[in-house]
Amino acid sequence: MQRTLSTRMLLNRYGALFRMPLLENLAEVGNVVSAVLVMTMFMWVFAMLWQAVFAAQGTDLIAGLTLRHTLWYLLMAELVVLSKPLLAEEISDSIKTGSIAYDLMRPLDFGLFHLSRYAGHVAFRACVNLLAGGVVVWLLVGPPPAWQGLFPAVLALMLSWGLEFCFEALIGLAAFWTEDISAFRWIHQKISFILGGLFLPLDFYPPWLAAVARVLPFASIIYAPGRLFVDPSADRLLSTLALQLGWLVVLGFTFRLLSGRALRRLTINGG
């Protein structure tokens, strides 16, 4: 059996793992249909809500954003949150049940094993959610304000899921030290929603809070892709990607460090 694998074989290996959630999603159409319903309903509710807000303000522009900008921004923000799998639970369950030991018996890197499956799930769900939510938003407020924002937004989305992967994996790994990770999940989720700008763009926040929130990783995950999509200026593109990459380095390094420690703890102490 070959032990030194070529790059092509490594790509094959993690590519095959990436493909499995795609196949699973296609096999379980019921789950996909319910995801589409959730996305459609959320975007419809948001549209009604923000139409009322803009009408009540009697203006076309709030903090530099039109209703169309706002809704396409919210679509991207929801896309980030609704397209990801429950990675933290998956990792913590595997630790609690001990099945992580059997995952370690494969010739796989722990991080890449989870990342490739996470990416496969996100790729499928994001396409479906984008299509479902996009149709609703388009019908209610018209096409995206700037088509040239699509490519930068896709780039930013990939980085944002990379960041979210690190957060979720870290929360899952916490199960090595504490029985129940639900408190961490809850705190992470609520902070992300508020400081990430899931329900309204950070631009609508008081300036001091918006300024703080923008540099935090939560904004790099939820706010960044949507804001870039509706306003793809070169300046914004550079600053957004630079900040996302910066946080990715920090969180990726933390994940590597802690996963290494956790796995050593498992092999030496038996978990």
Binding site: R19, M20, A27, M105, T267, G270
Partner: protein, 332 residues
């Protein structure tokens, strides 16, 4: 040599808590840690291509030993070598040489047909597409998976699923197969089928099998040698024949009578295991009590309509070994 284990010892640290609220409170401020030995001073050998039965009651240390042999756990002391490598130092390399089936932890993707899992494992183990296809064709043939290769795993019967599990564990042509309860929950036909295919693969490809099972039939059908572990210690390591010879000392007799009645056989060295209105079951050691005497004693109790004399099955033998060990915890 497939496996060499020398004086392996491993213990875990657990936190004790006294009962009730006060106990919980105390445990919070002043935790009481305790070292619990999982395995103590275990040594054994397994030759290449050998099928070795590894048995012991729950909590005896079987899975700790297996995890050490896979490189997932570090022992506290002692040495081990699996296929010439130290497992906890060379785990990633060893992965390619070991296949595993843990009966209660499925490795197939639940919502997808087995064929998809076969291909993803092919890619994981670095096989190219053609090599995977050839190997899958071969395994499908041996394990007779043709009829459900394309059916989602969740729709397969347990027997079909286990055949796929064992087949997928052999995809990368491992030299050593670790089987933990491969026949758990299976009916007798499915069990027999799994045993036959494992035996075929052992003979065909020379793959060594380390089999853990509560089912004595699995061990008897597949293994020529057996090691028994209890309370973290090795209490038996020899051939299957030796196990039977040493512990197959008792004969069991079931007898049925024509007429109803309360009967007993008051002979020294004869133990009544069960009695009913029409019959009884007794056990005796033929080295101390003559078979003739027992039969004529039984004959004297009434007119017999049926009698069977049998050796106790492996399950009973193992039960006896555990019981002996429990009486004398230092026995090794």
């Amino acid at each position: 040599m497939s496996i060499r284990v020398d004086r392996l010892t491993k213990s875990f640290r657990t936190r004790d808590k006294q009962e009730g609220l006060a106990g919980s409170w105390r445990a919070l401020w002043k935790p009481e840690w305790r070292q619990v030995p999982a395995i103590r001073d275990i040594s054994f050998r397994m030759e290449r291509g050998e099928a070795l039965g590894f048995i012991g009651p729950n909590g005896a240390g079987k899975s700790t030993t297996i995890k050490i042999l896979c490189g997932i756990l570090h022992p506290d002391s002692g040495a081990a070598e699996v296929l010439g490598q130290v497992p906890w130092q060379d785990r990633q390399r060893l992965c390619y040489e070991i296949g595993s089936v843990f009966g209660q932890r499925p490795q197939l993707w639940y919502h997808l047909p087995p064929v998809d899992s076969f291909h993803v494992y092919g890619a994981i183990y670095g096989l190219d597409r053609d090599a995977t296809r050839r190997r899958v064709d071969f395994l499908v043939d041996v394990f007779e998976l043709q009829h459900f290769l394309h059916t989602p795993v969740r729709k397969l019967s347990l027997g079909q699923r286990m055949r796929c599990e064992v087949a997928v564990s052999l995809l990368h042509a491992p030299k050593l197969l670790l089987l933990d309860e491969p026949s758990i929950g299976l009916d007798i036909v499915a069990k027999q089928r799994i045993r036959d295919t494992i035996r075929y693969m052992r003979d065909e490809e020379g793959v060594g099998v380390l089999l853990t099972s509560h089912d004595a039939g699995d061990i008897e059908a597949l293994c020529s040698r057996v090691i028994v572990i209890s309370d973290g210690q090795l209490i038996f390591d020899d051939t299957m024949d030796e196990l039977k010879r040493r512990h197959l000392t008792a004969k069991q007799v079931n007898v049925r009578y024509l007429e109803e009645g309360e009967r007993s056989l008051p002979m020294a060295g004869v133990e009544t295991v069960a009695a009913s209105r029409y019959g009884m079951q007794i056990r005796f050691d033929p080295r101390t009590v003559g078979v003739d005497a027992v039969i004529s004693g039984l004959h004297g109790l009434g007119s017999m309509v049926d009698i069977t004399i049998s050796d106790p099955d492996l399950e009973n033998i193992i039960g006896t070994i555990y019981a002996e060990n429990a009486l004398d915890p230092d026995a090794a």
